[in-house]
Amino acid sequence: MSDLDFPTSAETLDGVSTVEVRTSANAALIPTIRAVASDLAARADFDLDAISDLRMAVDEACATLVDVAAPSSSLRCTFLVRRERIEVRAEVNAGQPDAAVSTDTFGWRVLQTLADDVQALRTPGVDGNGPTVGIRLDKHAGDAPR
């Protein structure tokens, strides 16, 4: 696990477009985050398999995090759209002090298959707050013609 280094504003740095989506940590809002993932990948000229994979990977990451999020907390998902790849960072404030992303599940294995790179992130909570847990993933545009 590595430290979280979460971008807080939505600047364009070096041709990177940033889109940050923040919702209540509620599974009912994950479909909207999936829609953002699909839209960004389609506009970044990802091939159809890569669009489908990114949509599923983002869903998986968000579903995993919503499961450990503190009640009434929020889910933050940032898309860094680069040339030929999209990096996604999702995070929540966890409810339990020992909360972490489980990496021994079927879902995590699927996530590893879908993304080109995936990492679980964790920053311990301060002052009795739960830790911040997150998932970072990278997806390349693919090369099949659309």
Binding site: M56, A63, F106, V110, T113
Partner: protein, 127 residues
């Protein structure tokens, strides 16, 4: 392709984003039709619908039509895989009808296709 006329139709309980229904298109064949997105919220109603399908003890052909499914998450895959194992206990293989990339792709990349008999349209699957 003619849609089989259902002699018996039982809509199962469904949250708005997932609609399921079970029909008996011909003797010995049970067809579960699924429409919508299968994700962490809708995997449980899909699991219930698959249990209803597997409860049809007289049937020797179990078909799940996923043509109307527009998204399939790992939670949905896991439910399908568990149903395949339960069918295998009865020496049956589930027949899946998959028309779109949104369904085929998750089955492919997880290597789960081998657990099912795959069809591209429902008429071939029920035949």
């Amino acid at each position: 392709m003619s849609d089989p006329v259902a002699p018996c139709s039982r809509p199962t309980a469904d949250a708005p984003p997932l609609r399921t229904s079970i029909t008996l298109p011909q003797p010995g064949t049970v067809l579960l039709d699924v429409h919508g997105e299968v994700d962490t919220l809708t995997a449980p109603p899909l699991e219930q619908a698959l249990s209803d399908l597997l409860a049809e003890q007289e049937a020797d052909r179990l078909v799940v039509d996923l043509s109307g499914v527009t998204f399939l998450a790992s939670s949905g895959l896991a439910v399908l895989i568990r149903a395949a194992h339960r069918a295998a206990d009865r020496r049956l293989r589930l027949r899946l009808v998959t028309a779109s990339r949104a369904v085929r792709r998750p089955l492919q990349i997880t290597g789960s296709e081998q657990l099912f008999d795959m069809y591209e349209d429902v008429s071939a699957a029920v035949d």
